[in-house]
C-alpha cells in the first residue's frame, strides 16, 4: 500500500435543514484514503455514507450544508475552493463518481457513445473524431461486445450491467485519481455483480486510480477492498484493514453487523435490537448506545474518542478504551487524534 495520503476528511459535519428540524447527517467524520488503495465505506441506510461522498464532490445540496471540517484532496482543501474551481479542476476530472442506478444517471436522450465523447471533448480537449475513436476504445476496455453498436444505442436499450459498464467507461475516460463508486453493484444480479467488480478491479490497477467504494454489503468490501470504514448514524465507528474489521472487530456495532448479515459464516442471523435513530434528534453521547448491549452511563453523556487499536485500526467506543486502559496507559498514547475529542453531542 502506498503511504501517500490522497484524500483526508477531518471532522466533517453536515446538516440538512428540513421542515422537521435539523438532520445532523454527519457528526464529525474523520477519514484518510491512501493513494492506490480500495477503500470501502460500509453502513446501513441513512448512516451518511453517500453524504460523505457528495461532500467530497461538493455536491451537498440545499437544504444540506457543510457546517465544519476539512476535505483535503492532494493537500488542498476542497471546501475552500470556489464552485467554479471545483467544476473546472476537480469534479469529473480528478474525482469522478459511479452511481447506484446507472440507467437513471445516464442521459436518456443522448446515445451512449456521444455521452462518453462529450466528457472527452469537455475535459480532454479532444476534437469530435478523436473523441469518438477513444470512446470505442474505452467501451472495448470495459468488455462491451460490439462497441460500435452499443455506442449508437440509447441507455434504455442497455441492461443494468451494460449500463454500469458504460458508466465506468465514462468515469475512467478522464483518468481520475479518485473514483467514488456509490453502491455500484447493488442493483445488479450476483453473476453480473461479479463481472462488474472484477472489471473494476482490473481497470483500477491498470489506471492506477484510487477507489472509494460505498456499499451496505460487507462481503463485497471483504472481497474487493484493502481497508474499510464502518459508519453508523453519521459517525465513523471503526476503521481498519479488511482483516482487522472482519476478524477482530472492536466496536459493538461492527460486531452486530457481521452477525446480522447472511454470509458464509452465519448459521442463523442475530438481530441488532432497536432501529436506526432519527437524526433530527440523535441519541446523546455515543449514537449507538440505545441499541448497544454494553451501554454504560458514560456512553449516554459523551461522544467516544477515536482510539488506536493496532496500526491502521481505530475505533470510537468507550468499551475499547476501558479494556485498553487495563492493558497499558502509555503504550498507544496519542498517535491518532480524532476530531471530536470528548465533545458532547449537544450541537
Amino acid at each position: 500500500m502506498a503511504e501517500e495520503i490522497l484524500l483526508e476528511i477531518k471532522d466533517l459535519r453536515v446538516n440538512f435543514y428540513t421542515y422537521r428540524g435539523v438532520v445532523k447527517a454527519l457528526n464529525g467524520v474523520n477519514l484518510k484514503i491512501y493513494e492506490g488503495e480500495f477503500f470501502g465505506l460500509v453502513g446501513e441506510t441513512g448512516c451518511g455514507k453517500s453524504v460523505t461522498a457528495s461532500a467530497v464532490l461538493n455536491l451537498v445540496q440545499n437544504p444540506g450544508k457543510i457546517e465544519e471540517g476539512e476535505i483535503l484532496f492532494k493537500q488542498k482543501n476542497l471546501l475552500k475552493m470556489s464552485e467554479k474551481e471545483i467544476r473546472e479542476k476537480i469534479r469529473g476530472k480528478e474525482i469522478t463518481m459511479i452511481m447506484q442506478y446507472p440507467i437513471a444517471a445516464l442521459n436518456p436522450v443522448i446515445n451512449n457513445g456521444d455521452q462518453i465523447a462529450e466528457a472527452l471533448i469537455a475535459n480532454k480537449n479532444m476534437n469530435e473524431s478523436e473523441a469518438r475513436k477513444r470512446t470505442i476504445e474505452l467501451l472495448k476496455e470495459v468488455n462491451i461486445p460490439q462497441p460500435e453498436k452499443i455506442a449508437r444505442q440509447f441507455p434504455h436499450q442497455l441492461s443494468g450491467g451494460m449500463a454500469q459498464r458504460v458508466m465506468i467507461a465514462m468515469m475512467l475516460s478522464t483518468e481520475p485519481s479518485l473514483l467514488i463508486a456509490d453502491e455500484p453493484t447493488t442493483a445488479l444480479d450476483v453473476s453480473i455483480q461479479a463481472q462488474v467488480l472484477s472489471l473494476l478491479k482490473d481497470l483500477i490497477s491498470k489506471h492506477r486510480a484510487t477507489v472509494l467504494l460505498i456499499t451496505h454489503d460487507l462481503s463485497v468490501v471483504a472481497e474487493t477492498c484493502s481497508r474499510v470504514g464502518v459508519m453508523y448514524a453519521g459517525d465513523m465507528v471503526e476503521i481498519g484493514t479488511v482483516d482487522q474489521i472482519i476478524n477482530n472487530p472492536q466496536h459493538p456495532y461492527t460486531k452486530g453487523l457481521i452477525k446480522a448479515i447472511p454470509s458464509d459464516r452465519s448459521k442463523e442471523l442475530v438481530e441488532i435490537r432497536g432501529s436506526v435513530p432519527d437524526l433530527v434528534n440523535p441519541p446523546s453521547g455515543c449514537r449507538f448506545h440505545p441499541r448497544c448491549d454494553y451501554t454504560k452511563p458514560i456512553c449516554k453523556k459523551e461522544k467516544p474518542q477515536v482510539l488506536q487499536v493496532e496500526k491502521e485500526h481505530v475505533t470510537a467506543c468507550f468499551l475499547y478504551e476501558e479494556s485498553r486502559n487495563k492493558k497499558s496507559k502509555e503504550e498507544y498514547a496519542g498517535e491518532y487524534k480524532g476530531g471530536a475529542n470528548g465533545r458532547t453531542d449537544s450541537a
Binding site: 441492461s159 447472511p262 458464509d264 442463523e268
Partner: protein, 316 residues
C-alpha cells in the same frame, strides 16, 4: 411427510404483442411437503416470483397442473373462499403493498371481514391487537396509516395481515430485500418463530443465496423459467452439481478469505425470455458444455444423489 402442494409441468407464457410470448415459467415440476420452508432462488428474470404467484392462484397458469392437497387448482376459475384463506402471500415491497389510505386496522382486518371470521367489531379489534403483538407491534398502531411506519414495521403489518386468517401456506416473495440488514434479521427470526407457532408451510423467494441457506430446508435454483437444481439446502450448498449453481456459489462475495474458491465468472447476461436458448437454457453461458446435445435437447430433472435433482447432461 405429507405433501401439501405438487406442481406438474407448470408453464406460464405472458403474451406480448402478436404471436410473441415471454416464457416466464417453462415446465416446472416439484413438490412441497407440509411444514417445509421451501426456497425458490434465482437471478432476476428467472421466473421465481411468477411461479410463487401461480402456486397460490394469483395468476393463472398457461398449462400444467398444481395439486393443492390433491386437488388441481389450475382447473378452477375462482378459488373457493376457504382455499384462498389458506394461501397467503407477503410481497416484496412493503411500501406499495399496503393501501396508503387505509388504517392499519382496516388493512389487517379486511380479510377477517371478508371471510366472516369475526362476529363483532370488538372481536375484530381484539384479534388484530393479538396479531399486532405477535409481530412485535402495539395497539397504538391500530389507527395509524402506513406512511407513519418504517419499512420494517410495514413488513410486520404485511405479515400480520397474511397470518391473521390462519393460513396453511404462505408465499414470502423476497420479504426482506427492501429492508436494512439489521431489520432483515429481525423479520427472519420472526418468520421462523411464527412457523413453529402456527405450523406453517413457507415458500421463500429470494435472490440471496446465503439468506436461502439460513432460512430454507429445501431449495430450487431457477434459471430462465426452469429448475436447474433442486434438493435439500445443505446438500446443494455442500455439493452443487449443476454448472450454473457452481458458478453462482463461486461468485457470491464471502467474508472469510479461506472460503473463497476460484471465481467462475459467467460470460454475458441472462438471455431474453422471449426466445430462450434451445436445449439446455444455460448452454450459452456454460463453462462445462459437452457439445451438441446441450444445444438441442433440454435435460430432464434427474435424481443424481438421494433427493438431489439436477437438470444437466453432464449426469446422463
Amino acid at each position: 411427510m405429507e405433501e401439501l402442494i405438487q406442481l406438474k409441468e407448470i408453464k406460464k407464457y405472458f403474451p406480448w404483442k402478436k404471436y410473441k410470448y415471454v416464457k416466464a415459467v417453462d415446465g416446472v415440476s416439484l413438490s412441497i411437503n407440509k411444514r417445509d420452508i421451501f426456497g425458490l432462488v434465482g437471478e432476476s428474470g428467472s421466473g421465481k416470483t411468477t411461479l410463487g404467484r401461480m402456486m397460490i392462484h394469483l395468476i393463472d397458469s398457461t398449462s400444467g397442473s398444481i395439486f393443492y392437497k390433491g386437488k388441481d387448482i389450475t382447473k378452477i376459475k375462482k378459488l373457493e373462499k376457504n382455499l384462498r384463506r389458506n394461501m397467503q402471500i407477503v410481497f416484496q415491497d412493503p411500501y406499495s403493498s399496503l393501501h396508503p389510505r387505509k388504517k392499519i386496522k382496516d388493512i389487517i382486518g379486511s380479510g377477517l371481514r371478508t371471510h366472516n371470521l369475526v362476529r363483532s367489531e370488538g372481536e375484530l379489534v381484539t384479534k388484530i391487537e393479538q396479531f399486532l403483538n405477535l409481530v412485535g407491534m402495539g395497539e397504538e398502531h391500530l389507527y395509524r396509516y402506513p406512511h407513519e411506519l418504517s419499512g420494517g414495521q410495514r413488513q410486520r403489518i404485511a405479515i400480520a395481515r397474511a397470518l391473521i386468517l390462519n393460513p396453511e401456506f404462505v408465499v414470502l416473495d423476497e420479504p426482506t430485500s427492501s429492508l436494512d440488514v439489521s431489520v432483515q434479521a429481525e423479520i427472519l427470526n420472526l418468520l421462523k418463530k411464527l412457523r413453529e407457532e402456527f405450523d406453517l408451510t413457507y415458500v421463500f423467494i429470494t435472490h440471496d443465496l446465503y439468506l436461502a441457506r439460513i432460512i430454507t430446508e429445501k431449495i430450487a435454483i431457477m434459471y430462465l423459467g426452469k429448475i436447474m437444481e433442486y434438493g435439500d439446502t445443505e446438500s446443494i450448498f455442500k455439493n452443487p452439481l449443476h454448472p450454473y449453481t457452481e458458478a453462482l456459489f463461486s461468485v457470491i462475495p464471502k467474508l472469510d478469505p479461506q472460503k473463497r474458491t476460484k471465481k467462475i465468472i459467467l460470460k454475458g447476461e441472462i438471455p431474453s425470455p422471449f426466445d430462450p436458448p434451445l436445449g439446455c437454457r444455460f448452454h450459452t453461458r456454460c463453462m462445462k458444455k459437452i457439445g451438441e446435445i446441450c444445444e438441442k435437447v433440454s435435460p430432464p430433472l434427474k435424481e443424481v444423489e438421494e433427493k438431489h435433482f439436477v437438470s444437466c447432461h453432464l449426469y446422463d
